[in-house]
């Protein structure tokens, strides 16, 4: 966790929940755990405010709490730092659900995201009362909801343990892996009654069971998309289709977040699955060739490990994300230092260790240019230098030393990831600044819009409306458009930046042993 990430989290939380929550989260970010009174004294906020902020964060599953080791009755809070950035991905989550389950699914997901976590009944109630999808019946909502649970997009949050000394103890949760995805019993009749006002939500039987979106499942989908896209770009559509079949087969036996490589899969299994589900004749005809194509490719997505069942394969996540993350690093270098620098970077990566002189020969770049590029890369921490000192020298003259260029892959990726965090923070900061700078103007236009709206509803004459609209002068209009454009560009950049961040995070998950935000059934 870097300072850049701390800034980013802080500004994300401010954007989503306001300044009180931001202050509380900042305080939690800098410590492993804190108690309520510690937070109060650090933030100088009222105890009530802090408690409310914590409640919000807990509802959004950004804070966890545990009883203190020394005092059973004192809860200690800690921030789930890695999850904060997920707040920025909400639009992507909704978009994914939209493509998979249509508008009904999207409104369920939106509801769950807006509230953090919710019971099934109240979620469906809110969706139904929402204006957009009146046409859909409660039945469709229920089926979609249950289908999303079955597909692991919605997960049950741990249930509260009800014990005898509930009043004093820190609440405990019972998390049972087996019933994360057990579908709830949603009473449609009761739902109808509540909507008519004949019953209250308190009478629903599922009051204790709270659901929320399972971000890991979404991330799994995003990750698979990255891999499929890479194969499609390199080896064509049919190969990508083949790979997506392999992926779906793999998930039957493998935890999707297994770090290094998946479990085994045999050729026969792949063939059977494809014969059953695919209509791509080309794929069926040349299946063995496509598989060997993916296996032999330098991306290294698939690895052959044995001959059982016509050939045993594993998906090599470690190799795959190393290739992809470095493809990303390389394009960053190309954009920043030029294609010659990328060549130097690749030479070093390929040779592992290389001296300056050999570097320029291998890369076929004149000595001076090669030197300057390599030193620039070194200065920006894309490459590193290993010094090997020859022992001795005996005090007469400097000891002989060799300076070898190398790439510490994890450090490079980490550096780039921090850069991404910083850039993302910059976009948020800049767009806040733009909004503040032209606050008066934006508010004015909003006011005007609502006035015009009401006037139209009232049926006032068009001339009168036009007169009102004209109070917004053309120069003002121009500035407003400019600001709106700026904000639009910035928010688009936020989304594309997150793609890079996600890819590099996947590298960290699959290629290192660092703790990452992803845990099975978190």
């Amino acid at each position: 966790m870097s300072a850049d990430y701390a800034h980013l989290c802080s500004s994300i939380l401010e954007q989503c929940f306001g300044q009180v929550v931001q202050a509380v989260a900042d305080c939690l970010f800098s410590a492993t755990t804190r108690t309520l009174s510690q937070i109060v004294s650090t933030t100088q906020l009222a105890r009530k405010e802090v408690a409310l902020a914590l409640a919000v964060l807990i509802k959004f599953r950004l804070v966890r709490f545990e009883p203190s080791k020394s005092n059973q009755f004192l809860p200690e809070y800690s921030l789930k730092r890695e999850d904060v950035i997920c707040l920025l991905r909400y639009s992507r989550y909704i978009h994914l659900v939209q493509t998979k389950y249509g508008n009904v699914g999207a409104s369920i997901a939106e509801e769950l995201l807006n509230s953090g976590s919710e019971t099934a009944t109240s979620c469906l109630l809110k969706c139904l009362s929402d204006g957009d999808n009146k046409a859909e019946s409660a039945e469709t909502y229920r089926t979609t909801f249950i289908q999303m649970i079955a597909d692991h997009y919605i997960i049950k949050t741990p249930e509260l343990v009800t014990g005898d000394e509930q009043d004093d103890c820190v609440p405990k949760f019972l998390s049972n892996e087996c019933d994360f995805f057990v579908p709830p019993n949603i009473d449609l009749q009761l739902l109808a009654q509540i909507r008519k006002g004949d019953a209250t939500i308190a009478s629903a039987t599922d009051g204790g069971i709270v659901w929320s979106l399972n971000f890991d499942r979404f991330h799994q989908e995003f990750r698979d998309d990255i891999m499929k896209l890479a194969i499609e770009r390199k080896l064509g559509e049919t190969a990508a289709e083949c790979f997506s079949f392999i992926l779906s087969l793999i998930y039957k036996t493998t935890d999707p977040w297994q770090r290094k490589a998946s479990n085994h899969i045999t050729f026969v299994e792949i063939k059977q699955a494809i014969e059953r589900k695919s209509n791509n004749l080309d794929l069926m005809k040349y299946l063995d060739q496509y598989i060997s194509l993916i296996t032999d490719d330098s991306l290294g997505f698939l690895r052959r490990v044995g001959d059982m069942g016509g050939g045993q394969y594993v998906i090599d996540m470690e190799h795959a994300f190393e290739s992809l993350a470095f493809a990303c690093v390389e394009s960053v270098i190309t954009e920043r230092f030029g294609s010659k620098a990328t060549r130097i970077f690749r030479v070093i990566r390929f040779k592992k260790y290389i001296e300056q002189e050999d570097l320029q020969k291998e890369a076929m770049i004149p000595a001076k240019e090669a030197k300057s590029l390599a030193y620039n890369l070194f200065q920006e921490q894309f490459i590193h230098v290993k010094v090997i000192k020859k022992p001795g020298g005996g005090g007469s003259g400097p000891a002989k030393a060799f300076y070898l260029f190398q790439i510490k892959e994890k450090d490079t990726v980490r550096m780039l990831l921090d850069n991404c965090y910083k850039s993302l923070y910059n976009t948020i900061r800049r767009s806040n600044f733009e909004k503040n700078e032209h606050k008066g103007l934006i508010e004015k236009s909003q006011r005007l819009d609502s006035i015009v709206e009401t006037m139209k509803e009232r049926g006032d004459s068009d001339d009168y409306i036009a007169e009102i609209v004209e109070t917004f002068t053309p120069p003002e209009c121009e500035i407003l458009n400019k600001v709106k454009n700026r904000i639009r560009t910035l928010s688009k950049a936020e989304l594309t930046l997150d793609d890079t961040i996600f890819l590099l995070q996947m590298y960290q998950h699959h290629c290192t042993t660092l703790p990452t935000g992803i845990k099975k059934f978190k």
């Binding site: 493809a327 990328t342 291998e362 989304l495």
Partner: protein, 294 residues
């Protein structure tokens, strides 16, 4: 017997022993010649340059010199010149540095300079500038083709690396690989056949480049292999090992589209390290960002 006759006899004996004759060989073969006149005869041979003396362990070995090599040096050359010449000759096509000649020959600097200049004007040796260190001159025999490590091979004109030439070749090689790939795409014989057809050997590329006639210098296949490697290092091609130990090359696409980071100024910002909430570089007053947003 006169010294010249003894010398001739000695030469015959020495030429008879392929690896060079030791003193024992000579005593055995010419047992009737006294040691003193044998030494005299050897001296005559050494003076003429017919033989050379080598040291093997503790023993001295006399070896006959190739008469053709000797002929390059004119008869009137003096001893110092001969020695310097032979040292330069030993240097082969890699050349030898003047400092090393001085140490080996034990001559002083002024004398050595004079001799070297002398030999150069007679076109017996030449000075070649090394590409690795522009101020370092190395000497080698006049008719010797300088080694690649000295001249830098085809990529150097005098001491300058020809960037444009390399770039043009790089582009042409890539174009060839891509043409090959496009050609293979048109035929629909399954993915593996496609892959094999898009692969090129160095030989094919060599032929293509020679036919293009863009190079004034003669390029051999090794030269093109280094160029092809740069195409691989640019990420535009792949190098695939064949079962017979040779490599083939094929054009490939990058697996990822341009990452989001470089689509905004922060990704390519040269001062991102200094960027923070305070100070001169901030997101609010950033010129790069202003340019991008407007």
């Amino acid at each position: 017997m006169a010294a010249a006759e003894i010398a001739e006899l000695l030469l015959a004996v020495i030429q008879g022993v392929p690896g060079g004759a030791t003193n024992d060989d000579l005593t055995k073969a010419l047992s009737d010649v006294p040691a003193a006149s044998r030494v005299e005869g050897l001296n005559v041979l050494l003076k003429q340059g017919g033989i050379e003396v080598l040291k093997k362990g503790e023993k001295l070995i006399y070896r006959a010199k190739d008469p053709q090599k000797k002929s390059a040096l004119p008869k009137d050359a003096d001893n110092e010149e001969k020695i310097v010449y032979s040292i330069v000759e030993e240097g082969g096509n890699k050349g030898i540095w003047i400092r090393d000649i001085r140490i080996k020959s034990n001559l002083n600097m002024t004398q050595l300079n004079k001799i070297l200049k002398n030999l150069e004007t007679k076109k017996l040796i030449k000075a070649v500038k090394s590409v690795n260190a522009s101020k370092k001159k190395v000497y080698m025999l006049y008719n010797m083709e300088a080694d690649r490590s000295v001249t830098g091979g085809a990529w150097y004109q005098d001491q300058d690396f020809e960037v444009e030439f390399v770039d043009v070749l790089n582009q042409q090689c890539l174009r060839f690989l891509q043409m090959k790939r496009e050609g293979a795409e048109k035929k629909r014989d399954g993915p593996l056949a496609f892959k094999q057809m898009s692969c090129c050997t160095v030989k094919e590329v060599h032929k293509f480049i020679s036919d293009l006639g863009i190079s004034k210098v003669n390029l051999d296949e090794d030269d093109l292999e280094t160029i092809l490697k740069t195409v691989v290092y640019d990420g535009n091609a792949e190098r695939i090992l064949q079962s017979d130990g040779t490599y083939v090359y094929r054009a490939v696409n990058l697996p990822l589209p341009a990452p989001g980071l470089v689509q905004m100024p922060c990704g390519i910002c040269p001062v991102i390290k200094n960027c923070s909430n305070c100070g001169d570089v901030t997101a609010i007053n950033c010129q790069y960002m202003n340019d991008w947003l407007d």
